[in-house]
Subunit: 293 residues, 2 copies
C-alpha cells in the first residue's frame, strides 16, 4: 500500500503532535479524519479545516473505514486502545504511532495485534514545550528527524508507507533504527537532556535569578517546561537506558569537577577542545554559516 | 563625567566583544579608537568604519588622550596591561572592562591602580560561540543583561558613566551587583551551564549521533563550542563558586536518578511540576506569546 489522495487516514489523538500531523497532511492535500476524547479539540480542528471529519466518540464506522491509522496518544492509552478496540480496524489496515519510547511497547502491540493488520512504529523527533492542538504547527517537523522503528515482523511495504508519512510531513531526515537502538539513542539525546534541564532548573533557589540570565541558561532550560504526565511515563518506560546515560554523564561531569578542584588547566582545556570539535558535527547547516569564515 | 560625542573613548582588545562594543558606539554616533596586538583586526575595523583610529602598537599618545578606556581582554592580559601601562593613562581617566569573573580581579586592579584614575567593573552578559572581530555584532547586546560591578571604592559618578555605556549599547537590562554576588550568580547561570554542556557533549561516543538529534540536544550543547583559553581561565578564577554550584546540581541530578531507580513516579512528576513553574519565570517576553492562550 502507498498513501495517495484517496487513502483513508485516521488520526487518533489530536493534541500537539496529532494536530501537527493533521495540519501537515491537510496542507499537502490529504483528507484527514480524527478521533479525540475532547470534543473541543475536534471542533477546533474542524473549524479551521485541519481535519475533514472527526468525533469524540468511538465511531466504529470511522475506524472501519481507515486504511492507515496514526496513534498520537500517551503510550499507556495507545496500549489500552489497541487491547480494547483493535477489532474495529479494517482488515489490512496499517497502524503507526508517534510514541517516544519503543522497547516494551512495539513488541507488545505487535504480539497482541490481529494478524490481518500491521503495526509499524515511528518516532517524529519534534515537539514543543506547549501542549494541545491550539499549539500544533506542521512546521515543527521541517528540519527535524523522523525515525522508522521496525522489528523483524514488519513488511517492506509497511516500512515504505511509514517513510512516506515522514516525506509528506516534510521531515528533513528519515532513518531507521531497531526499538533497542532507538531507545538507547533517545535515552541520550532526549531524555538525559530533559533530566539535566530539570535538575538545573530546580537546584538553585536564588530569587530574581531571571534578572541576570543570559542566553546560555535560557537555552539549557527551555525544555525544563515539561509535561509531567507524558514524560514521567516515558522516563520510566526507558528506565534502564536512561539510568545508563545518566551514569555516563555523571562520570564525565565528575571528571571535570575533579580537574577544577586540582587546578588542572591543561586537562580542562583538553576537554573543552574535544567538546568544541564534537559539537561542530551537530550544527544543522554548516554550509549556510552567515559569516562565512 | 558623562559620555558625550566629544568624549575620547578607547577600546583595548578588538575581538568579539571589543568589536561589538566598537560597532555599537559607532552606530550611536560616537568616535572610537582601538588598540589590539593584531594589526589584522585593526585594519578590518578601520576599513569598515567600526573605529576611526587604531593601532597594533602601544601608542602612548592614543592612551594619554583617552577619557574612557574599555578593556576587552582575557583577564590575565588585562591585569598585566594595567601593571605595565597604567602610567600612560590620562589623569582622571575612567577605565572599565567586560571580564566574566570579578572576584580576584576587581579588588586587585583597584588596589594597584593610580589614585587619579578610577576602575569601575562591568560585565556585558552576551557573547557568541564564535570569536574575533569578524563575528562582532552590536545586536548581541539587544535583549541582554549588563551588570555594573562596583566596590565600596567606586564613586557614584563612575557608576553612572558605566551604566551609560550599557544604555548606549542598548542592553535590555542594567543592574548592579557586588563582585562576590556577581561571581556566585555567574557560577550558576553561565559557568555551570557550560560545564554541563561540555560534559554532555563528551560523555557519549556513539558515532553518527548527529543523524538523530532533536532540538533539545542542540539547545543544550550550543555552548559546548567553547574557547578553551578564555573559559579555562574564567573557570579557575571562580573555582570555589563554580564547585559549589556543580555540587548543588549533582545533588539534584542524583535525586532524580534515585527516584527513577525506585520507580517513584509521583516524585518525578513533582520535580517536573516545580521545574515547569520555575522555568516560566525565565521567559524573555511572556506578554508576546504568539499563541495567546
Amino acid at each position: 500500500m502507498k498513501i495517495n489522495k484517496d487513502t483513508n487516514i485516521l488520526i487518533v489523538g489530536l493534541g500537539l503532535i496529532g494536530g501537527s500531523y493533521a495540519r501537515g497532511f491537510s496542507k499537502a492535500g490529504y483528507r484527514i479524519k480524527a478521533i479525540d476524547t475532547d470534543q473541543g479539540a475536534i471542533d477546533y480542528a474542524l473549524e479551521r479545516g485541519i481535519i475533514c471529519a472527526g468525533t469524540s466518540k468511538l465511531d466504529r464506522s470511522m475506524i472501519e473505514a481507515a486504511d492507515v491509522v496514526i496513534f498520537a496518544l500517551y503510550p499507556h492509552i495507545f496500549r489500552e486502545w489497541i487491547e480494547k478496540n483493535q477489532w474495529y480496524l479494517k482488515s489490512g489496515a496499517v497502524i503507526t504511532d508517534v510514541t517516544g519510547v519503543k522497547g516494551g511497547l512495539v513488541r507488545y502491540i505487535q504480539s497482541i495485534l490481529r494478524d490481518d493488520c500491521e503495526y509499524i512504529a515511528a518516532h517524529p523527533m519534534a515537539g514543543c514545550e506547549k501542549l494541545g492542538i491550539e499549539h500544533s504547527d506542521e512546521k515543527i517537523f521541517y528540519g527535524a528527524n523522523y525515525i522508522v522503528v521496525p522489528t523483524e515482523k514488519n513488511s517492506e511495504e509497511a516500512k515504505e508507507l511509514c517513510r512516506q508519512i515522514g516525506q509528506i510531513l516534510n521531515f528533513a531526515r528519515i532513518s531507521e533504527l531497531s526499538p533497542e537502538d532507538h531507545d538507547e539513542m533517545i535515552g541520550f539525546v532526549s531524555q538525559l537532556t530533559h533530566c539535566i534541564a530539570m535538575s538545573l532548573m530546580t537546584c538553585d533557589h536564588t530569587e530574581n535569578l531571571e534578572d541576570y540570565t543570559g542566553d546560555s541558561f535560557r537555552d539549557l532550560t527551555r525544555i525544563a517546561r515539561i509535561d509531567e504526565t507524558m514524560w514521567s511515563e516515558l522516563f520510566l518506560a526507558n528506565k534502564d537506558a536512561l539510568l545508563h546515560q545518566m551514569k555516563l554523564f555523571t562520570m564525565e561531569f565528575s571528571k571535570l569537577e575533579r580537574m577544577l578542584m586540582e587546578g588542572d588547566k591543561e586537562g580542562i582545556k583538553d576537554m573543552m577542545r574535544r567538546s568544541t570539535a564534537r559539537r561542530k558535527l551537530f550544527d544543522k547547516e554548516v554550509a549556510t554559516d552567515e559569516h562565512g569564515v
